[in-house]
Amino acid sequence: MKMNSKTLRILVAAAIIIVVAIGFVTNLGIGTMSAPGVWDISILCPLGALGTMLASKTMVPRAVISLVIVVLLIIVFARAFCGWMCPVPLVQRLRGLFSKKQAKAARTSDADGNGAAGPDADAQPEAPAKPLTAAEREALSASCGTSGAQCSSCAKRRGAALDARHFVLGGALVSTFAFGFPVFCLVCPIGLTFATVLLVINLFAHGDVTWSLIVVPALLAVEVLAFRKWCHKLCPLSAFMSLVAKANRTFVPTIDNAKCLETSKSAACGLCGRACDEGIDPRHPQLSEASWSECTKCRACVDACPANAITMPLLPKKRLGKPESPAASVDSETEAAKP
């Protein structure tokens, strides 16, 4: 039995924190997520690289190189950083520790909300094998291209148009340029997470007592625990990645129509769409809450599929004019997003 990718993701994020902590107590220069690397080689956080150049109004060769590498990585892996490496989702799990029952209830209602992609998803959430009615089938096959008028879901779809995150990104960059220091770095929850780890290490290792020990974790808690939707609604790094990830064509969840219950047996399933934390419905991308550029490559849909019909191939498979293949919809989506 393969390890659940959710567990795997938690382990990867935790392992990164441990490796960074090892970096703190050794002199290997492993760096934090702001500049991971070894010795004097490091790759900069894209926002840090942009920020440092905007603030100091100078070209920093290492920052430019980092930026190019990061952009290429995002094109290949989309927002995989968010799904696999970022410590923030891990920090957000702490909330579940404190209020187990409430959090669980909230999570299931969340999942329902996110998963309510098609009209059938709400009506029959627990009946995966029930056949679709003709009306439902028609509703599911509706897409922006065929329905004539512009449908509302396109405008709402996260990642297809600008949203709050992009305002934060823009505000951070303008502020950085105007005031001359990387403003977002001051409050970046990723940086604050590792800062907290370091403060705790230094508290025990050197008896380093400071108000930072309270201020840093408190700021982190306000950001990612109070704003539950930090990643989706506010994080400028997520905004940057989703902008670049519009060019992503690799590792896109692809459904084998011969295996998928909905296409092969005309059953109402929708489990993949409900499994997606980002609100993407791989089966009906045109009904998704988020566009493909939001995909964190978390493999939740792959795990959720009862028929094992979903794979994430390196390159998009060539489909013979199938309208619902994800790769095709990515194309139409990016075109729709262009002004």
């Binding site: 702001s34 100091s56 290492r62 405008a155 709050a164 502020s175 220091f181 230094n202």
Partner: protein, 227 residues
Amino acid sequence: MKNDETHTDSPDAPAERAEGKTRIGMTRRTLCLGVGGAAVMLGLGGLKYAGSQSIIRPPGGQDEERLVSACIRCEKCYEICPRDVIAPAHIESGVLNMRTPTFDFSSNWCDWCTEENGGQPLCVKACPTEALKLPDGATAEGTIIGKAVINTDWCLAYKLIGCRFCYDACPYDAMQLDENDRPAVLTDRCNGCGACESVCVSLQNGSISEGATARAIVVHPLDEAEG
């Protein structure tokens, strides 16, 4: 101004407006959140004028304006320092300085990685954003990190105990002893390397130097030491 740009850039979609959305195709709530977030970012920029204490910086960080503008608080310099004298500054030094590099000379001092890297500071080499950057031909002697200042109330030698650890430790002959063997700093020769501070034992002898909150010889930032 950024927000206005997005307004004009976005395609005008009448169908969306009909559904109670704003002109740029997002719900009012999203717009408020976005504008609020952007405003917070701009407000945070104002922290620059909140008043930060001046603190001593690792080699290459003497241009404070440059360091603050380029440092992304990645802690790389802290990690790479072979003598573990670089420490991230705390909030007590000012909000803007929080997590930027400063020195902690409590157990060691900075000799520009003479043994470890032939006199080229590893922190400067490792800094990915060039926040720490030495001018061409910079030397340890000529780069003033700060100036050592003796607190004569706390210094054991000023109680005529004959302690001269700092005098012996100074690698730049920047200290002298008076006729009673009390040390004094020759400020024109001191570069703030921290060797004196790292060996000062005044705090371990609290019964003698009562009320001391720091070592009797401490490297202060240039403006503080002169002022």
